[in-house]
Symmetry: C3
Subunit: 132 residues, 3 copies
């Protein structure tokens, strides 16, 4: 089990972490199998998407905010970050990827994105390998 | 493969199942590896979120209902539970967690939540372990 | 690792792929374990839902379009397919299923659905098995 720490820098942000995770996996000497990637938080999630054009990530945040406004008089949770909890559940907390020769099997346009919805904070990403 | 049965008690409800699943895993003698948690339904899903303040779970249901109203003249499915199908797909049906010494690796505020969107019903949660 | 190719035929479509994937798994001689199903795209995802009544799938697409309109003056991504990227992240890109005697463990009403949001295109679905 490996833990990678990511510092987020904004309230809401999708942080490209493919390179950081690949480096961690290679330092651990992991080569082939299924790699479980897990975010142990409730206001940050994980997804995959394009990061060639940064406007894609910006539009994802824009749309999630439109669907789940940060401020809504209907929320009851006193900490005021209900929208962050909801968005994290919509993106999910775990991702299983195939690891092949120390690299994640990803499509050409895919990047792994840590989804910060209540930052800035120091976040953790936990990895585990089941070798094939 | 283990099957755990959960009785839900409301039309829409997020049921905290971490303790029930941990108990089932320990009774089976499972210790370490990747544990697959699967919901074999189409109007119930699974997610992770906070359950320290019950208002978080209440706000998640509130927001999902705002996004996907139970009643919408645009739906065509005759059973009248289209919203439940949609919400279940938004939360997802499978979760892979790391099992370490018979316990799920979870963040401090995380609980595993069975998402009932068309209850009350008797639901199943299926677990499988790949030992590490 | 197996790659299955799926031709989608519409701009937005949920394609039932349970039979195609089961056939591919059986041709590979895979029997038991955890099967990872991965979509290496950013405008197509994967989910599970009912396909007994085709109106369920139609209502899922209807609701996602209501939540994330294809046309929205707020989007900035110049390719004009931001909604497809967002919907794909909402459904997710990976699914882990239990394989038992060459068949996926699924509920009675569940089908595996490839979610096309920017078609028609030739899409790939990648499978990997961790034998139990």
């Amino acid at each position: 089990m490996i833990t990678v720490e990511i510092e987020t820098t904004a309230r809401q942000e999708l942080v490209r972490i493919t390179r950081r995770l690949t480096q961690a996996v290679q330092e651990a000497g992991w080569q082939n199998g299924l790699c479980q990637i897990f975010v142990p938080h409730t206001t940050a999630g994980i997804t995959i998407n394009e990061n060639a054009d940064p406007d894609v990530v910006r539009d994802i945040l824009y749309s999630l905010e439109r669907q789940v406004p940060s401020a809504d008089p209907g929320y009851r949770h006193v900490e005021g970050n209900s929208a962050a909890h909801i968005k994290a559940s919509m993106m999910g907390f775990s991702l299983t990827l195939i690891l092949s020769n120390g690299r994640f099997v990803l499509g050409r346009w895919q990047d792994i994105l840590l989804c910060e919805f209540d930052g800035p904070r120091r976040r953790q990403v936990i990895l585990e390998l089941i070798p094939s």
